[in-house]
């Protein structure tokens, strides 16, 4: 009996040590979007295990706060959110039930990826009569690859806060990410430079950062107001606009049906281009770099 006890006491610290070292092996990170997941993986490498709540082909404004996500959040060391109220309909009930103080707002593991982003379309006054407007500014900022560097820095800061021993590892990855994104941004912008200033129509107001970076000019939307489905009068207005200004392109995200866009394109002699808002929108887009590679290629093909 004594021998068994002695063995147990000797064995217990070893088990604890093994458990704690395996717990240290990988940080558990939960992100709201796949773009944040991709950037976190690029900075954290094999030291992080990242789960994204929304898929790449899902409307990020409307995600169901399923209890299974609560389980993921309850174990997370780091939580990364787009912020600016983009996920206001589903992140608060998840965080409120997560029972994890590390990832609550103000906790070491909470990352608002929008911090330090130079925001566009910040309203001076806000009313819901204007549709689904975001009072802090347009939240689709990850669609400018240069903002990816700011997002990466915010994620890097959190990884260092919760795992300071690996600072140099994360720092090296951050440096590599910044260099890659700078080099690729030059390539992508060069690719679309001949078409700078081209007027296009979009389904929803989610492209201002992309538009600014790549020199497009979005002149109108199929939605009469953000979040309000297209109305016949709005579609007629857009058809007339396209005919008058010789606009040939309507850009749309994968989570909107193309019926109204197809109808407008048919009547105005234009074409509909589905481009991705997030990593994982289709099987070709596996990383944050692929997102811009795909979108710029799709646009280039349509503009030629």
């Amino acid at each position: 009996m004594m021998n068994k006890r002695a063995t147990l006491f000797l064995f217990l610290p070893v088990v604890c040590l093994l458990l704690s070292s395996s717990a240290l092996a990988q940080l558990k990170v939960v992100t709201t979007l796949t773009d944040l997941q991709s950037i976190t993986s690029l900075i954290g490498g094999d030291k992080v295990e990242v789960f994204a709540i929304a898929t790449g082909y899902q409307n990020p404004h409307f995600v169901d706060p399923k209890p299974s996500y609560i389980l993921k959040l309850s174990r997370a060391d780091v939580f990364v959110t787009v912020g600016l109220d983009l996920e206001i309909g589903w992140v608060p009930p998840l965080l409120n039930s997560a029972r994890n103080s590390r990832i609550q707002k103000g906790g070491d593991g909470y990352v608002d990826a929008s911090v330090n982003i130079p925001l566009l379309q910040v309203p001076t006054s806000a009313s819901r009569g204007q549709g689904d407007i975001h009072v802090f500014g347009n939240p689709h900022y990850w669609l400018d690859p240069q903002n990816g560097k700011i997002i990466a820095k915010n994620i890097f800061d959190a990884l260092v806060r919760v795992d300071p021993d690996r600072r140099s590892f994360y720092e090296a990855n951050l440096k590599k990410f910044n260099e890659t994104i700078d080099a690729k941004t030059r390539e992508w912008t060069e690719k679309l430079r001949p078409y700078a200033g081209t007027k296009v129509i979009a389904y929803h107001n989610e492209w201002p950062y992309f538009e600014q970076r790549f020199g497009l000019q979005i002149v109108d939307f199929l939605e009469p107001k953000p979040g309000i489905p297209p109305t016949p009068s709005q579609l007629l207005k857009v058809i007339n606009e396209m005919k008058r200004d010789h606009i040939k392109i309507i850009i749309i995200s994968p989570y909107f049906t193309t019926e109204s866009a197809d109808m407008v394109a048919r009547n105005a002699g234009g074409k509909v281009v589905t481009i991705a808002t997030s990593v994982g929108a289709n099987e070709k887009i596996k990383t944050y770099y692929d997102l811009f590679e795909y979108n710029t290629s799709q646009l280039l093909e349509a503009l030629r």
Binding site: T55, Y57, Q58, N59, F62, V63, D64, P65, K66, P67, S68, I70, L71, S74, I88, G89, W90, P92, P93, N96, S97, R99, S101, Q104, K105, G106, G107, D108, V115, N116, I117, P118, L119, V122, R128, D132, V135, F136, G137, K149, I150, K153, D157, V160, R161, P164, G227, I228, P229, P254, Y255, T257
Partner: protein, 387 residues
């Protein structure tokens, strides 16, 4: 005695939570301070070498985030009922005001006040629906809520009327509790149960004084009521989920003896992830068993059930149907059977229009038909509802 024991357990739990969170906070803040110092030194060194990132003004974000979330929700109705004095009616059924905010790093608070139509007088009367302090930092996957709340008996009871897709709650809710369900003042502890299959399993235990309803009454002389719920949630596919719940409740009833209830709820939801605002389907059913002790040797054993289905066929349009069968807790001879059809139009998340037709068959009174039109309208920041 039980009451004092319960209070002691709650106080101990709360103290453990605060102490645990405090320790966690102290440790992490020391590390955070050192890190902050390091970061400041580094950023000062880097500042000269690298161009700074253009910074957006941060003040408006922090100013707005310290305010509590405030919202008001109106529920206006127009109805026709085939029996009764007032067959056609137009009325404001309810106004709800909600204030919610994080209290400190350890807890959040939610308050909901209502002006609801009194069923007897027809006048609007004020009421307190929710007033809770909920922990956010308890250890061991626990969460504690103290105050007044809707206990987790079944799937429907935790909802407020504006959050339910049909205009009225199922007959079993109305017959066994009240038209708005069951309310409790006390403590609620819930625990995320670790399990080898790694699915979401939550056990809730609630104890306190019930706001008197058809089954349970506010106990005198320290008599408390108890509610328990086990929620099991499964992701069947990326687009579909299944939830299975088991509930139990016990407490004093009007006769001075006790009532015991058990329940099972089953919910299936389907929503294609890619077009998640365009189509969805929900099927939900609940079964309730009741055992009301009416005397030393007599008891009434009754039950109720409902099953509903709702289909969203376009971005703003929903249709639904519901079947109800419900007895009454203290009368085995009475029962209601009802069939309901619903059309719902939702221009935005802040305005919901619904038209409902209901036929009710009663074995103790005249059968009735009713048509109700309801419009829900909300302003302000209202906390998102649970899945």
């Amino acid at each position: 005695m039980i009451f004092y024991r319960t209070i002691s357990v709650i106080l101990v739990l709360h103290c453990v939570a605060l102490a645990g969170a405090e320790a966690q906070q102290t440790d992490s803040s020391t590390v955070a301070d050192s890190l902050l110092l390091l970061q400041l030194q580094r950023s000062m060194q880097q500042a000269a070498a690298t161009p700074t990132i253009q910074q957006a003004p941060a003040a408006p974000r922090s100013t707005l985030s310290t305010n509590p979330d405030l919202s008001a929700i109106g529920d206006f109705r127009s109805s026709y009922v085939s029996v009764g004095k007032r067959k056609i009616d137009l009325y404001l059924n309810q106004l709800e005001f909600q204030v919610s905010s994080v209290v400190d790093p350890y807890a959040r608070a939610d308050f909901m006040f209502s002006y609801g139509k009194d069923l007897n007088t027809g006048e609007l009367a004020p009421g307190l629906e929710i007033a809770t302090l909920t922990s956010t930092s308890l250890p061991y996957q626990l969460q504690l809520a103290l105050g007044k709340f809707k206990p987790a008996f079944g799937k429907i009871n935790i909802l407020h009327p504006h959050a339910f897709s049909f205009v009225d709650f199922p007959k079993l809710t109305e017959n066994y509790f009240s038209p708005e369900g069951m309310f409790m003042e006390g403590a609620s502890v819930s625990w995320l149960v670790p399990n080898p299959y790694d699915f979401f399993q939550e056990l809730s235990l609630e104890i306190g004084r019930i706001e008197s309803n058809a089954s349970l009454v506010r106990g005198e002389n320290g008599q408390l009521s108890y509610v328990g719920h086990l929620k099991n949630f499964f992701d069947l596919t990326q687009n579909s989920t299944l939830e299975l719940g088991f509930s139990g409740a016990n407490g004093p009833n009007q006769t001075g003896f006790s009532s015991t209830m058990g329940g099972v709820d089953l919910t299936y939801k389907w929503k294609p992830v890619q077009y998640n605002v365009l189509q969805s389907f929900t099927w939900q059913s609940e079964l309730l068993f009741s055992n009301v002790r009416l005397g030393e040797t007599t008891a009434a054993k009754t039950h109720g059930v409902y099953s509903l289905a709702e289909y969203q066929f376009a971005q703003r349009w929903f249709v639904g149907a519901r079947y109800d069968y419900s007895q009454y807790p203290d009368d085995v001879g009475r029962r209601d059977v009802a069939g309901t059809v619903l059309f719902r139009f939702q221009p935005t998340e802040f305005q919901i229009l619904a038209l409902e037709y209901q036929y009710t068959d009663r074995n103790y009174d005249r059968n009735s038909q009713g048509v109700i039109f309801r419009i829900i309208f909300g302003i302000g920041t209202h906390a998102a509802h649970q899945y």
